[in-house]
Symmetry: C2
Amino acid sequence: MTRHDHVLEQAVQACRTREHFSPFADRPGKDEASQAAIASAKATFESYLGGRVELDQPASDELKAAETSPFTLAPLDIAYPVSDPDTLFAAADDAMAVWAKVEPERRVDLCLEMVWRLYDRWYEIAHANQHTTGQSFSMSCVGSGVNALDRGIEAIAYAAEAMARVPRSGRWERPFGRTPVALDKRFHLLPRGPAVVITCASFPTWNAYPALFANLATGNPVLVKPHPTSVLTMALMVQTAQEVLAEEGLPSATVQLAVDTPQQPVAKELIAHPRCRIVDFTGSPEFGSWIEANAHPAIAFTETAGVNTVVLESVEDLDPVASAIATSLGLFSAQMCTSVQNLYLPSTGVRTPDGVIAPDDVVDRIVAAVDATATMPSRAAGLLGAVQSPATGDLVGQLTSSVASRGRVVRAGEPYEHPEYPEARTLTPSITVLDPDDRELFGQERFGPISFAVRCADGQDALTHAVRDVADRGSIASHVYSTDPRYQKRATAAYLDAGASVSLNLTGPMPLNFAAAYSDYHVTGLSPAGNACLTDEAFIAGRFRVAQVREPAQQ
Amino acid sequence: MTRHDHVLEQAVQACRTREHFSPFADRPGKDEASQAAIASAKATFESYLGGRVELDQPASDELKAAETSPFTLAPLDIAYPVSDPDTLFAAADDAMAVWAKVEPERRVDLCLEMVWRLYDRWYEIAHANQHTTGQSFSMSCVGSGVNALDRGIEAIAYAAEAMARVPRSGRWERPFGRTPVALDKRFHLLPRGPAVVITCASFPTWNAYPALFANLATGNPVLVKPHPTSVLTMALMVQTAQEVLAEEGLPSATVQLAVDTPQQPVAKELIAHPRCRIVDFTGSPEFGSWIEANAHPAIAFTETAGVNTVVLESVEDLDPVASAIATSLGLFSAQMCTSVQNLYLPSTGVRTPDGVIAPDDVVDRIVAAVDATATMPSRAAGLLGAVQSPATGDLVGQLTSSVASRGRVVRAGEPYEHPEYPEARTLTPSITVLDPDDRELFGQERFGPISFAVRCADGQDALTHAVRDVADRGSIASHVYSTDPRYQKRATAAYLDAGASVSLNLTGPMPLNFAAAYSDYHVTGLSPAGNACLTDEAFIAGRFRVAQVREPAQQ
């Protein structure tokens, strides 16, 4: 029995029942002690600015990453150790020679220990995450903090179970002709080999933790290649893992940071390196597809982006629906893989018990719900946060200009004034009404707070258009609102046929964007939105292999 | 409880314990009834010659396959239905729309029913297999018959378990703030999509059954693309599967044959087809690597070939070891993926309790053991069978000429006279002694009955050379003979470090080539010898995906 066995058991059980589980606080504390801890963590974060993050790995030089706080627009000016890929992979191979021979159960326990150490640094990492991604501090603590750690534990639980299902030995007996034959067999779990984990700029921890721990638990060393503008959180993750390894007398280089710059990206070089055996990637569908096609002999696990659709056919009450949609359009300025983008509305209107609501009125209600938050800086700051990249604002601006000539901009995205950080790069949601034949505008992912209301003929037509976009581009989170059981059934079947998940009639305090560890299968793996799922057995199975030793049975 | 539940339970249990299991007779019967059944099956087989195999699938034309019996050298002259890839994939997609919606438990049961129908045609398929592969009738019944069916059941068991571990529904409840949220979630298993199963000329069933059933059980339609010179066995497999489907009112095109000719191969076209989602391949390492690198967006499962090594360091008794090696060199004229090829011998000799045996004497004893069978036509016929392809004899001939100038040919491979089939294409094992610096000759797979004794410096050097070849080229079956526990430990560690399985000191009636369903993990997946294993969870996991439907909990 080790320290973390109980949590592991609970996590395994939750993965089986898909019930709620988390060993963590669900939000940052509001008591005095928590406030003091948050302030102290902020000071720790600030101590990195203009300095360096020390990591225990080969370093031929150091590199100042291109990190700028979306809240202050000040460069973080932090230096990280840097080495060429050959050096990193050589260190990873040396580390693997030791790490792979650590018993799987102990590797699992050490991964859980790393999770707890990351939780010990919860507030510190949340500050780092806030000032690299643009997430509010609260979202940094929850979505990028405890929720991400839960997804990490979930991956550890799947890995532990997959490895436990391989027996370590067995005796095999049968006669050949009249002669009995008895063999003793031992089964060894071998790692696939060095893994490269490529993380995104706006939400790195949520995919990094599962990938890191799925690889580590199954015996593979990991090179973490963060987005060049969002390094610090990943560096602290690597540092935390290295500390646990070092305490146990294990090679720190089992986990290394591979930092780069926007001008000299290193991801393709890492993927093409002859020693690369696994790639975990979060980012654009274009690069994700390239990796899937070109990673060989490495295997690739990707999560990218799709067209997240909302079909509005009929509702019991429009207000909570408009509010749920408005929250998804606003949350972290729609820089999440689960942010909704396209609303498909019947021109015939949305049916309610009190009569039909015309599509323009539906859109107006959603705009009003967005305004209720976006025009109130104190609320906007908590919900929208800041925009990670200046490019996002530029793209949204350009796209808004092009759509304006084709549709009706019912809400223009504009900066809001952040009450705490007046320099913050902010942008409220834009909404444009388009026709279905404007598909080249709405029929793909548009990253950032830009959304489209597509005026379809009727409820069936709305479903048809939504599902077509999902089938072609993939979807990570899609929603249908209908009070008609037959329509619900048709819609469900249509999304499943398109290889996509769907949620029906969600409203209330849980954001539409929310995906629960241990319960929600995140990404089906059947579309350009990614080939991997958090977490299913396929996310684990290929990361380790079985080799056997047979010999005549010793009596 | 369905007809096959008990077998499924036993198979699942055997996969967990890796103990022996088989629901089948272990060899063809010798009683009168069996003899009559074998004769009747032979007549059925002969009825196909010059005729056609009827299949229930789209057919724009028919094609006479390039099949010739290695025993009679007469063309089989059998016609099969043929269609272009677009037509086959369209039919597969239509079939999938039905098959994927059959409950997973029923799909599993129907797969097991197909296994039993194949067993009902055991002798018939064995005759077909004999006269396409060159295997003896006995090996066709055992290795290609019941052993292959066991590997098929094993794959079904893994698929059944993997699908059963995904719950079909769950209720999820947690508060957000002070508001409780309750969601009902349904989890749907979706197939990845149409699979192409490419089988080899000399041993098709052993990989075809696991691939076919792994795909079918998880909801995917299958196109079986047999080697153009070894079609009949696969056509009968497809026919049997189609019969079961048709009886159940399910689309026959869930399983289709995609036959081609050596002059117009269709494999690459099938793999590159936009609807291809899964490729299972058995064949050459070159084509296997190409498929792994180019199958995207399909996922690929490959078994190819490696350098199967034998290291002789020390033995308790040389005779049974020489006999075991000789059997592996001879069995089906070494046309198996588990046939040994390279013997690494210490020049210092092989230690025994009665003194050291010089390497030349060791080789002489192995040659004598080969001669004991190969020079006796009645024994040779049972062990060696015939050579599937004329190209194999040519290649062995050419290679023997090249090695003769570099080494010492201690046994030349020559045809033996088959007692039953005087025209049979036969070839006995050749053995050549080489030096380690002749690695370009022995350091890769040489298909067919050709083997090399490599004179290394000493026991450690023998191990070093063997493991180097395994690391570079992969290995499917490797063997070490040593009575020294420290050497055994070193050798085991070295093979595992090379990503390979190894057997120690195997002798006796079980052929070295034997791999047991439910027990032996066949191919580690870490080398050019193939990326897939029969059977582990990775062989199943990617073939189906999970999509979910969430909605507010209904009280």
